[in-house]
């Protein structure tokens, strides 16, 4: 198992209880987490999106993802980057 995969699996577990309030499923299953990579030693960068650009839950979701990743001890510092490239679509959901 590569370190990238290890991070990915641990991220999925850590974020399993961050629920998108509208859809009622966790952010990983909905496909909101685009990537999670260690960009330096103990520095994790998570790229994520939201289902709707401008959604009022955006800030809360970003904070929750950062908080969960940090509290699980995945890295010393965690940055969350919000992106809409590509924009989210329902096809990105895990069935």
């Amino acid at each position: 198992m590569t370190s990238a995969t290890l991070v990915s699996d641990r991220i999925a577990a850590a974020l399993s209880d961050v629920i998108d309030p509208e859809i009622g499923r966790n952010v990983v299953d909905i496909g909101l987490i685009y990537s999670a990579e260690l960009i330096a030693e103990d520095h994790l960068l998570i790229r994520m999106t939201t289902t709707t650009r401008g959604c009022p839950a955006t800030g809360f979701l970003v904070d929750a993802v950062r908080e969960r990743a940090a509290s699980e001890g995945l890295a010393q510092t965690v940055d969350v980057e919000l992106t809409y490239d590509p924009p989210w679509s329902p096809d990105m959901m895990r069935s």
């Binding site: 509208e22 859809i23 839950a57 809360f60 929750a64």
Partner: protein, 448 residues
Amino acid sequence: MPGAPISRWTMSYFAVSLVCLLSGLAAMGSGFGFPSGDVGAPDTLVVVHLLAIGWLGLLFCGALLQFVPVLAAARPRFASVAAPALVMLVFGLSALLAGFLSLGGRAGFDLAIMPVGAALLVSAFIALAVSYAATILSRPEIDLSGKLVLVGLVSLLVTIALGATFTGVLSGMLSTEWSAELLLRGLPVHAFSGVAGWMSITAVGVSYRLFSMFMLAPESGFSTRRLIAGLVAALAMLWVSPFAALAYPGADVAVEWIAVALFAGALFVYLSDVFRMVRSRRRKTLELNTLAGVGSLVYLLAAVVMVAMHQLFPDTLAFGPAAIYALAMGWLSGLGLAQLYKIVPFVTWLEAYGPVMGRAAVPRVQDLVRESRGRSWFILYHAGVLLGVAGLLCGAELAFHLAAWVEFAAVAGLAVELFHARRLGYAPADIRLPKGAVRPHLLFANQI
């Protein structure tokens, strides 16, 4: 913080709008105004404006305060107008209704109170319209929903300009040789600009985004250009029809037919898009708000058919009033109540649980409502609307009055459900208020 902020005063708008709806339904149920009175009688004007401005106007304005920044993905512009506009709308509507009651001899106010009320209403609506338009136009690209809301706002301006002019005529302050002609020709334009233009087109615009979000359907492949072109052309026909009559007597009927045909064509395009969303949705089991919202579209279709029947057979059955009733109480109110049932718990959830998400276990949005109860109230409401339409068509006043009380009971029931949602009453007790969560105020949002 990224994303649209929570609108501080949306809940206040919603609360006042529900009070107006219940008041209007109680008045209708008690035989106040049409059909017991004449369609243009002062009592009818009271009920119509209580529902059109008090219920639907405030509902739409409150919803747009929250929704326009989401739609534009931009911070709200001139957001500080929301609270003073609400105060002006309440005082303006009260003054207008007092004027109508005085016009009918039920109160003794100077009729000048009507234009004063209209001035307050016009100022408030313009302030809000500028705020919404500035927010939408702040983005370089405007999507279908944004364009439709802009068209709706233009219709709002036409509606209130005509309405304000009418208050001048009715109060006697504006007296010219063409006053009677203005009322006769302008009244249908005022009514249809409000119901079909401002409110229906805005509702269609908002529904594109909401249906897509709630059904998890792709936001692409819509017939944007055809829909916008059809609606703008239909509105233009509606607005030139009185002038056509002045230039060529009788030409207004042909222009009205063109307007009806264009509205029907636009409706077909819209319903095709909604049908495509329903078919391609990822959320197979639809929530109550989506089901009730999509269900309200049936009235839109029925209203267009009844308007056409009214044009064809103006003296057979009350197709005209029934169409307006189906649009106001079935389509617009049905969709409005359905979306209230979603927006209130969603905003409540954000206020209460957004700040602690990821730090503690929290309920889902769906846990803040009890759909089994809500479903019963929606079924009762639509039974009332169908009874009301049938009562109007058949000239059965008692059925019409009974329908209003049935709707009153259903709306009161839904209001209680929204109260429970706002107070977190249905949230599981063990996670109702986790550490750090704040119970929202009933009538306005916390500043987060």
